[in-house]
Amino acid sequence: MIKKPQLEVEVGRIRMKNPVMTASGTFGYGEEFSPFIDLDKLGAMVLKGITLKPKMGNPPPRIIETPSGMLNAIGLQNVGLEVLVEEKLPYLNKFTTPIIINISGDTIEEYIELARRLDEVSQDKKIAGLEINISCPNVKQGGMAWGTDPQSTYQVVNEIRKVTSLPLITKLSPNVTDIRVIAQAAEEAGADVISLINTVVGMAIDINSRQPKLANIKGGLSGPAVKPVALWLVWQVFQTVNIPIIGMGGIMDAQDAIEFMIAGARVISIGTANLVNPQATIDIIEGIEKYLIDNKVKDINELVGSLKV
């Protein structure tokens, strides 16, 4: 009889049954996927990015397909913190899977207030951690601007660190000259985990109307097209920081997921793949398990950063 490999991982005090979680914005509030998968089987769930107040988002078209990828410019449409807490968390709290809240602010005060409130809430609603989104390319103020400069990255993370003891994940943007200095700033400011990549800025043009295809002009590129870039950045950050990494960007199947783990990701996030195949997360968990058995790896953690160079 083959002994099942050990799939459990831990990042920043968040224990997961397996290293497969969902990427913010591609998994709604979880509930949308319950017809397709058993949410209890996931390593963790990251919900759609939340802001203090509800946000309308950008005008349509918001999504454009590109070669092996897609551009999105949702613009952080979300129900706002209070509705999240009152209407979405109760449903999710029925599951054992850790819930991670992805937070965005226009100002540093908004980030702080979000973290403070969620820290409070976490007394009776189960919240496993916060993911600080300082890398959204689709909102005018805030978002990506925070994450493209080490000082402001340090400041945001550091201020949030002061108001909550929840595990803090800092989500990095790929749209930078040297991601290592940003990752380092986040680590020094007290982040428990680094997640990357958010989307790569891009655009598409309709040559008949001569207008941008997205109403927002630019959008964020995700999907298989960005995988080589994401993998390189994960490997760069892995060599730089001592805290664990959540890797994502174009992961469509277990092979892709394993590449990220070899490059240094302890956990991987599934984004665009959820839109293509709502069962992607489960398929990937099974695929990883099979790979471990085939390759006689007893513990998934052995894979992390095992790249031979």
């Binding site: 017809p35 078209p61 918001r62 839109l275 195949n277």
Partner: protein, 270 residues
Amino acid sequence: MILNINARILSKKEVAPDVFLISLLAPLIAQQAIPGQFIHIKCSKDNYPLLRRPLSIHRMDKDKGEIFILFQVVGEGTKLLAQRAVGDDLNIIGPIGNGFNIYPKSQKIMIVGGGIGVAPLIALAEKSVAEDKEVRVLIGASKREMVIGEELFKSLGANVDISTEDGSYKYKGLVTDLLKEVIQVWPPDQIFTCGPKAILRKIADIASSISINCQVSLEERMGCGIGACLGCVCKIKIKEKEKNNKVEYNYKRVCVDGPVFKASEVIWDD
């Protein structure tokens, strides 16, 4: 309950230039589906093209457990779909969306289809007839070969009028002009329509000018198709907030809040 299944392709037919009719074995979807809902289709077997494509459920045969799609080849996804072979399995998600709402008290149902927009309207006509409504159908097309569904609607017992832009068949002009004429003599209780946005907008105006309930099926680029990504939104008025002469709106998801909306609630400005 929305399903993610592999549905066998049972038949495929080119019913007009570049317009294909495909039937799929999907008993559980056929059982549940209502007119105006759609399925979200993985056209390729690999990741290229990446995203699914939404297509209306054209008809459903609950007894045989079949659903039909009727679509025009316009790009990569629909091209690949048209190339798929009978006997192949097609990965689909559905049924999705709210569907058309036929009021019990309505007696006269007007159905207006522009181009390939007739796709979901056959199922709707079928249901209307089954509910003993009087059904009138207007089909608008660019030219004679592109008139789709005439025989089908007629076989259901509907009264069918047709307009072609180039006048190559029946009424010459836009289907909206035809509509204006027809409602003079036959004012319906409800209007249902699907087609290019410009047409929908005009029909919405016509319906609003005579205060008839009008339901439009909207199209928007989709990601997930299941309400999770917020990629497919359209502007829908918030009624209570129509103060200060400024129309307030929300972004609603075409995939699960629609695709059918009350024409009077849609903001057409983009």
